[in-house]
Amino acid sequence: MIQTLREVLEKALERLSSQIVTYIPPLLVGMAILAAAVLLARIVRLLFSKAFKGAGADKFLRESGFAAFLPGSVRSGVAPVVVGAVYWLIPLLGALTAVNVFDTRLTSQIVEGTILLFPKLIAAGAILLVGFWLAQFLGRSILVWACNEEIPRPRRLAAAVRVAVVFVAVVVAADMLDFAERGFFSAFIIFAGGAVLTCGLALGLGARDSVHRWLGRNSVTREEEKQLLNHV
């Protein structure tokens, strides 16, 4: 029994030492990489905060109206946000590199997934931001136009336009992220189809008399032409 226990213990210790030999070196290397990344991030933050004031970016955000959608900390100045983003990006890249050092299937999948997702996240964020801005811009255009034309309930019309544009932006962003794309896209098709059908009905019913008059005029013209040529 003691012999069996000793064999089990020896096997366990052997496995443990094998795991330690396999994973401790990459772990130490990973920690060193992460520490270096954090140090580098601090140095870059110091240099960047001195070099980048962001006056041009602040002016653009203010004049374009994008500032209205951004949180208060960004609205008051872009420079701290950019510096902060750069600061956190470097340790994140360091962490990915550290994870990649282990060179296992799982860690490779994690790194690959993160690297592939990151640009899509940026693109989807940009699409949403532009979508919100466009919704506000078009909403205001409709509001001013409807008010000057004395169309009833201009604010509701403007709100409907805003909702429609934001919805389209959400559909496109979801498609970019491969997130519930079928659901969003189907909803978009139903919405767009409904809008086109409504406009078609409104135009058709409203222009019925005009079409009737146009057809009547054309048939009179053809009759007159026939009579003109009768003598030939």
Partner: protein, 335 residues
């Protein structure tokens, strides 16, 4: 065409005039040919309710900005010299709003800002075809006021240094004329203003200072009584100056801002009509002169806004304007 033909002078007149006489051409061309002027602006008798964009916005602003008292800067009838024709042709504004309703103020402003010799000719009465009621007032305001603000940006090294205005010489023999009456629907104008205040507050907030916006909203919430509605001169001046500054600093919102001016402009016209309905032509001219002085006295406020000084406090009403406004209110109450 004048440039191609090598003409020394060119007269331009509105195509819808009913009061034009052959003497108009002489009055527009002679100061150019014989007195060396480059730009001859018209000077007319108009009905007190005709030319409200001129009386409320373009004339006082042009006078305050460029320091020349040209009474009809967008009259539509001009005489110009070959030198000025060449200058107009050298510019590249023909695809912008200048080529539409803004053409008149563009011509006048270039002549004033670039030191061409400017005078006025008295042409008598301006009678023209009635405007189509369906014509788009907001498009006209957008283009005319937009041109004024755009030219402010172009000449912003010049107009902040202009302190006073001086009169432009007037040619021609002045005489009194009869004018066609103009019908004004006050109740509809006041309703349009109130509805605009309800719907466009968020757009106005892009341009107006909070205190100015607050005053406008208080005015909109008052009972729309045709006897007492009054948009003060200093408030009107502040509105325009703040819109001008917003036009400069918010390029992507310019279209919205200009089109949203329509209800404010209509309120100003309604106020002017109420104040002047019992006044004769001379008294109305005095009233407009008062407005012009208000524009000039509040110009430092415009200069501060233009420089991006967000901390500048809106000035109070000029003393003379406050006294005469008080007199106007008292005379209305007595009536």
């Amino acid at each position: 065409m004048a440039n191609e033909l090598g003409a020394k002078a060119c007269a331009v007149v509105d195509s819808d005039l009913r009061s034009i006489t052959p003497e108009w051409i002489d009055l527009l061309i002679r100061p150019v040919l014989h007195a060396g002027y480059d730009f001859v602006a018209p000077y007319y008798h108009r009905h007190k309710y005709d030319g409200t964009i001129t009386n409320s916005i373009v004339y006082p602003m042009t006078r305050a900005l460029y320091g020349r008292n040209v009474r009809q800067p967008i009259g539509g009838d001009f005489g110009i010299s070959s030198a000025l024709v060449t200058r107009y042709l050298s510019r590249d504004d023909w695809e912008t709003d200048v080529a539409r309703y803004g053409i008149d103020i563009w011509m006048t402003t270039i002549a004033l800002a670039e030191n061409f010799r400017v005078c006025q000719s008295f042409l008598g009465a301006k009678l023209h075809d009635a405007k189509d009621p369906g014509a788009d007032l907001s498009a006209m305001l957008h283009q005319v006021v937009g041109s004024v603000f755009t030219l402010m940006r172009e000449y912003d090294q010049l107009w902040p240094h202009v302190r006073e205005s001086e009169s432009a010489d007037v040619f021609g023999f002045r005489y009194d004329v009869g004018l066609d009456p103009i019908d004004v629907k006050l109740d509809r104008m006041l309703r349009t203003f109130r509805q605009g205040a309800d719907d466009l507050r968020e757009i106005w907030a892009l341009a107006l200072r909070p205190e100015t916006l607050q005053e406008v909203m208080v005015l909109a919430r008052q009972p729309m009584d045709e006897g007492s509605f009054h948009l003060k001169d200093d408030l009107w001046v502040r509105l325009l100056y703040e819109f001008a500054a917003a036009h400069r600093f918010k390029p992507l919102e310019r279209g919205h801002l200009l089109r949203s001016l329509t209800p404010l402009y209509i309120a100003r016209v309604a106020s002017f009509v109420i104040e002047t309905r019992d006044l004769g032509a001379a008294a109305v001219e005095d009233r407009i002169e008062q407005l012009c002085r208000c524009f000039e006295e509040m110009k430092p406020y415009l200069i501060a806004l233009w420089a991006g000084d967000g901390a500048v406090a809106p000035p109070g009403p000029p003393r003379q304007t406050a006294e005469v406004a008080g007199q106007g209110q008292r005379s209305q109450m007595e009536a």
